[in-house]
């Protein structure tokens, strides 16, 4: 036998992994992070007291809210059109509370407390954001058993650290952390999607063949 037999736990987790296998979620979240990074930089570049600063602040709030709703629908549509006919459809149970969510919330609290203990000369915000993005990605990597997410987590944490050390203001640090992490996620998602399409060419028949 070429491959070792998967464990039952691995089989139970496989549908979760399937959601991230094609790289579409990384592309969507990466685009959202990149947009957030650009919105923060635009905000940071606007002089205080300007009307554009208010517009920028509103955009900053609207980007993740609108973006997550729009991208969720977009990802679903793209999966329906190009992924499900190739490798099948999975109906996920979104009502189930996830333990991973509590790990991330707990981690965010620990990081927030740790932020107060850091010396003033370090840009705390970028460091915390990089660490939090890293934590979310590590949790996903563990759950989905996807090695590339561990790499993304390390990159996000390193970007946060670099921004904290070399960029003076919290805003520019945040912009760099989100923007650069988003760009890396887009690159990683694009490579995963390309690999997926190469491994699974368009099927010739219609339906699932059952």
């Amino acid at each position: 036998m070429d491959k070792p037999m998967p464990s039952l736990k691995e089989l139970i987790d496989r549908p979760f992994r399937y959601f991230y296998d094609d790289g579409l979620v990384e592309l969507a979240v990466g685009t959202l992070f990149l947009a957030a990074g650009l919105a923060i930089s635009a905000w940071a570049a606007t002089p205080a007291g300007s009307i554009w600063r208010v517009v920028g602040a509103l955009l900053l709030v609207a980007t993740p809210m609108l973006g997550s709703v729009l991208f969720k629908r977009l990802v679903q549509r793209v999966k329906d059109r190009w992924v499900h006919p190739r490798t099948g459809y999975v109906d996920y149970d979104e009502s189930k509370p996830s333990r991973a969510r509590w790990v991330v919330i707990g981690g965010a609290l620990v990081l927030a407390i740790a932020g107060f203990l850091l010396p003033d000369q370090i840009n705390n915000m970028a460091l915390m954001e990089g660490a939090l993005l890293g934590l979310v990605l590590v949790t996903l990597a563990y759950r989905a058993r996807l090695a590339r997410f561990y790499l993304l987590a390390a990159i996000a944490a390193l970007i946060g650290l670099a921004a904290a050390l070399w960029l003076g203001s919290d805003l520019w640090g945040s912009a760099a952390t989100f923007g650069a992490t988003g760009a890396v996620m887009i690159l990683s998602g694009g490579c995963a999607l390309r690999r997926y399409f190469m491994a699974h060419p368009e099927p010739s028949g219609h339906g699932d063949g059952a």
Partner: protein, 102 residues
């Protein structure tokens, strides 16, 4: 007869068969999946997968629903409450056999 050997002998044969065990494991944490997904993951042929799903459906462990996504037919398979219990019980029994416990 010792308890682990008794568990092994009394193992649920519907669930114990490797392909059916894999199908139940794949369906365990989700609401459902289509035939194509199960075929991709298990690597079974259409006929073989159909036959295993029929056995599981007859046992009341899986529900099969024929639907359409637009004009394309889609067969959705869902694990039932009984199927979930049977799978979890079987996993516990296997663990007991391996660890030599209950």
């Amino acid at each position: 007869m010792s308890q682990p050997i008794k568990s092994l002998v009394e193992a649920d044969r519907i669930v114990h068969e490797p392909a059916r065990l894999a199908i139940l494991a794949l369906l365990h944490s989700i609401r459902g999946a289509d035939f194509l997904y199960l075929q991709e993951e298990t690597g079974l042929t259409k006929g073989n997968l159909s036959s295993h799903l029929s056995r599981l459906e007859e046992a009341g462990f899986v529900e099969i629903e024929k639907t359409f996504k637009g004009k394309i037919p889609r067969t959705i398979c869902r694990i039932t409450a009984a199927g979930r219990v049977a799978f979890e019980t079987h996993c516990q029994a296997l663990k007991g056999i391996i660890e030599g416990g209950s």
